[in-house]
Symmetry: C2
C-alpha cells in the first residue's frame, strides 16, 4: 500500500480555471519527429476579441478537461522522456546532456513556457547559469528553468507541523500556491507523517518540489543535533530522492571555524539548518559531515538528477548582520562546493539572504556570481527593514524585487506571518501574489521579452474602462473584483 | 458660526496611546531664553528596563493627558511664534528666514524630531533642498521638515465624495492616518461640503495639510473645465489659504504644447489636475493660466507661507509611458517655475510619478534634482508594475523604497484600493504602514543617523524571544500580536 491508498486522507483541492482565464496548451513540435509537447498557458480572453497567454504554473487543476484524482496522482508527463534517455558519461542529468550539446524535452518544454529558444536554455544550463530541477523519480512535474536569463521564479514554502495542520491541508496548500503562481514548492513538513505528507505532495505536484533533508534526519535522532551522523543523513537523502524530491537544501557551508564569527551578531544564527549543523560541529569539534562527505552526496544527487540548493546557514537574521564576515565566509565555501558538484554534472543553485538593507543588496548578487560561477541565486526576500512584523511579505518584496533585478533567479516567498506564526491558506496566497508581482517588477527591469506585454495589455484595458478585462488580467482577479465592488457595486460601472 | 460649531457633525476619533508606547515630550531649550519646545516622541518601554524614542506624528490624540475636543480644535501651538515674527524683505516664510540666517522655532522643532542639528535644517531650507510646510493660518500643526537629508516622509490622501463618506469620517481618517505615521495629509474632498470638511480637518490636524485647489475651483464652475478662469482659481486659493492649507498642488507645468505629446501614450493623461488643465488649454487654445499667472500665485503663497507642490499633470499612468517626452518636458517647466517661486521666497516641492519600472526610477530623481534645483521630490509610489490591481500598495512600495533611497523626500501613499475604489479606514492604515516601512527602508539605505537603532532594538528582542517587546516595537503592534496569537495563543509562548 502506498501513502496515496490511505482513504482516510481526503484532500479537497481547488480546481477550475482562474476567473476570466482558460487553460490552453501550446503544441510544440518535436524536431526529431516525436509527439509534440503540450505546454500549458493561462489564456486571458479580452472583450475586444483578442487574448493574451500568460505563464502558467497551476498544472492540471485549472484544466476543466482534466480528471483530478489525488489518490492516483498526476499523469507521469515525463516518464517516456526519462525512459528513452541514455546517460552521458554515466550521468542522466540535465547538466550532463546540456554539456553534451543535447536539447532535452525538458529544455524544450521550459523554453516554450518562457517564449524563448531551446538552445538558449541548453546553453544556460550547460554554463551552470540555469538549472532545471527534475528528479527522474518525479515524472509528474512540468519542466521549468531557473536562471537569470529567464523569468524570475517564486518558491512557496509549505509544510505541516504536529500542532497545526494535516496531510490533506498541505496537499491543498501546494495546489493553492501553484494556482496563484508558485513555480516551485518546498515541503518543510515535520512531525509524525513527514514521509507520507511528502509522498502526497510529490505525486500531486505539477511543479518541482524541494526539501531540507536535515529536518527529517533530525527527527530520526529525536531532535538532538549531536546524534546526527552522515549515515542517518545519507539514508534520509536517499529516502527522499527515491520519492522524487527535485532539489534539496544542503547547509554544507557551515564550517566549524565559521561558527565563532556569529558570536557578536545581533541575531546569531537564524537558519534552522545552520543552527543544527553549527550545534553538531561544536558538539563533535569536527568539520561538518555535509562538507567532508560532499562528494558522496554529489554521487547520490547525480543518480537522480537532484539539484543542489546550497543553503546559507549563516545568513543574516537582521539588518545589523547583513553582509558580515560570517555570511560571506560561508558564501566562499558554497562557491567551492558548486565547483565540485559541477565536476560531477550535478546542477546547483545557491541560497541567499534574508535581511539586507537596500544599499547592501547589489553586493550580494555580485559576490555570489563571482564566487559561485554564476550559479542561479535563490534568495529569501531579503527584508529591507526589521521594523514591520506582520508586513514582512512587503518588507521582503521590496528587497526581493531589487535583488531579482540585479540577477537573483528565484525568490523564496515570505508571508505576512513570517517571524510570528505558520501561514494559513490566505497567507500562502498573499505571499505568492506579493512575490509574483515582485518577480514581475524585476522581469520588466531586466527586459524579459514577454514581460511588458502583460502590463501594457492591462493598462490599456484600465485606460479604456474595460473593467472586466482589467480584473481578468490581474494577478489576482478575485481580489481586484472584490475591491472594486466594495465602493461601486453597480454592474454598469464595470462595463462602462 | 464656524464649521466646527455644527453639532450635527460628531466625529468619533481614535485616541489613546499605541499599544506598548507612551507619548513623551522632549524639552528643547530656546537659545534666546524663551520657553522650551515640547517635542513629541513615541516612547516604547522595553522589558529590560530600557526604552527607545521614535518619531511621532500622531499629535495630542495619543497623549492620555490631552483633552480632545474636536469642536474646539487642537491648541494653536505655533501662534506665539507666528505673532512674534517680523517679515524679512516683506516675507514671513521659512525660506526667507532661512536665507536671512535665522533659525525659526519651526526649524528647531523639526530638527529635534529628527535628532539633528537646527542649523542643518536651516541650511537645507535656505538652499531649497528642504521645506517646512507651515501656513501662518494653521498654527495647530507640529512643524516638520521635508528634504532628502531628513527622514523620508509619507503623505496620506483622504477626502470624501458625495457618494461614500461624511465629514466626520474624514476627520477620523485624518486622525487615524497620523496615528499610524502619516507625516502630512492631503484633503482631496469633493462635493457639497468641501469647505466645511477642510475646516474640520485643518483645525484638528497635527500635521501639515495639502490640497489641490483646482478640484474645488472646478466644482464652482459645475465641473466644466472650459469655464475655469484665473479669477475663480485665485479666489479658491485664497479661500483655502485663509483656512490654513499648508501646501497646494498646482499643475502649472501642463503647457498647451505638451498636450499633443500624450496622444500616443498607452494611458494618456491620468492625473486629474493634468486632465483638467489640458482640457482648459485645448478649449481656449491658450496657455494655462496657472503658468501665465504663476507670479501672482507666488505672491499669494508668500503671504501665507504656503508651499508649492508643483504637480506632475503629465505623469505616466502605466509602465509603458514612464520617462517619456511628455513627462520630462513638464519636469523642465516645473524647474523654471521652481526658480521663480524661490525668487519670491516661496518654498517648493516637485511632484513625481506614478508608474515607473525599476530600471527607470533613478533617472527620475537625477533629472528632478538637476532641473528643479534639488527641490524636495514628492512621488506617488511609483508602481513598479501594472499587473496587480488590489495589491498596488505593494507594487508601489517597491518603487517608493527605491526612489526614496535615491533621494525622494516624501512619498504619497497608495492603498490596496488604488485604481479600484475609495479607501476605507482599514485601507488607510494598510497604506500608511506600507509606506512607513518603505520610507524606513530608504532611511536605512541612506544612513539616517536615527534609523537603524530601531531595527536593531527590534531584532535583538526577536532573537531573545522577548515577544512583547517585539510587538511593541513594531510599526503596527496590533497586527503583529494578532498574527502571533493565531497559531500560538498561549501566554507563555509570548513571554518565553
Amino acid at each position: 500500500m502506498t501513502a496515496l491508498d490511505d482513504r482516510s486522507v481526503q484532500p479537497t483541492v481547488t480546481t477550475g480555471p482562474i476567473m476570466g482565464s482558460a487553460k490552453v496548451y501550446l503544441s510544440v513540435a518535436d524536431p526529431h519527429g516525436g509527439p509534440p509537447l503540450r505546454v500549458p498557458q493561462r489564456r486571458v480572453g479580452l472583450s475586444d476579441g483578442t487574448h493574451i497567454d500568460l505563464y502558467d504554473t497551476s498544472g492540471p487543476y485549472t484544466d476543466t478537461g482534466a480528471a483530478i484524482d489525488v489518490h492516483a496522482g498526476l499523469p507521469a508527463l515525463r516518464a517516456d522522456w526519462i525512459g528513452a534517455r541514455a546517460p552521458v558519461n554515466g550521468a542522466d542529468t540535465q547538466l550532463a546532456h546540456a554539456r553534451a550539446g543535447t536539447i532535452t524535452p525538458e529544455m524544450r518544454y521550459a523554453a516554450a513556457r518562457e517564449g524563448m529558444d531551446p538552445e538558449t536554455v541548453r546553453a544556460e544550463v550547460a554554463a551552470g547559469r540555469a538549472v532545471i530541477p527534475a528528479n527522474r523519480r518525479h515524472p509528474e512535474s512540468e519542466p521549468m528553468v531557473i536562471g537569470k536569463r529567464f523569468l524570475v521564479k517564486v518558491n512557496a514554502n509549505i509544510g505541516n507541523s504536529a500542532v497545526t495542520s494535516s496531510v490533506a491541508e498541505e496537499v491543498e496548500k501546494m495546489v493553492w500556491a501553484t494556482r496563484w503562481g508558485a513555480d516551485t514548492i518546498m515541503d518543510l513538513s515535520t512531525g509524525r507523517r513527514i514521509h507520507e505528507t511528502r509522498e502526497w505532495i510529490l505525486r500531486n505536484s505539477p511543479v518541482p518540489v524541494g526539501t531540507v533533508p536535515i529536518y527529517q534526519a533530525l527527527e530520526k535522532v529525536n531532535g538532538d543535533p549531536a546524534r546526527l551522523s552522515w549515515e542517518v543523513y545519507r539514508d534520509t537523502v536517499i529516502e527522499q530522492a527515491e520519492q522524487g524530491v527535485d532539489y534539496m537544501t544542503v547547509h554544507a557551508g557551515v564550517l566549524l571555524r565559521y561558527v565563532p564569527l556569529t558570536a557578536r551578531r545581533v541575531t546569531g544564527i537564524v537558519s534552522r539548518g545552520g543552527s543544527i549543523m553549527a550545534a553538531w560541529c561544536l558538539a563533535h569539534h569536527e568539520e561538518s559531515f555535509l562538507y567532508t562527505r560532499f562528494e558522496e552526496l554529489c554521487d547520490i544527487f547525480r543518480a537522480y538528477d537532484i539539484t543542489f540548493s546550497l543553503g546559507d546557514g549563516l545568513r543574516p537574521g537582521s539588518i545589523a548582520d547583513a553582509n558580515d564576515e560570517a555570511q560571506f565566509a560561508e558564501l566562499r565555501t558554497l562557491g567551492e562546493l558548486t565547483a565540485i558538484a559541477r565536476t560531477k554534472d550535478v546542477q546547483v543553485m545557491v541560497e541567499g539572504p534574508g535581511h539586507v538593507p537596500l544599499h547592501k543588496i547589489a553586493e550580494n548578487v555580485r559576490l555570489e556570481e563571482e564566487l559561485c560561477g554564476e550559479a542561479p541565486f535563490y534568495t529569501l526576500g531579503p527584508l529591507a527593514t526589521d521594523i514591520a512584523p506582520g508586513y514582512d511579505h512587503i518588507t521582503s518584496a521590496i528587497g526581493a524585487a531589487q535583488i531579482a533585478w540585479h540577477g537573483t533567479a528565484m525568490l523564496c516567498y515570505v508571508t505576512p506571518k513570517e517571524h510570528l506564526g505558520l501561514p494559513d491558506r490566505d497567507d500562502v496566497k498573499t505571499g505568492v501574489i506579493t512575490y509574483k508581482l515582485a518577480a514581475h517588477s524585476a522581469d520588466l527591469a531586466k527586459g524579459h521579452p514577454r514581460a511588458q506585454e502583460w502590463d501594457d495589455t492591462l493598462s490599456k484595458a484600465r485606460f479604456e474602462f474595460r473593467w472586466k478585462d482589467q480584473f481578468h488580467l490581474a494577478l489576482d482577479p478575485e481580489t481586484a473584483l472584490a475591491y472594486h465592488d466594495e465602493t461601486l457595486p453597480a454592474e454598469p460601472a464595470k462595463t462602462a
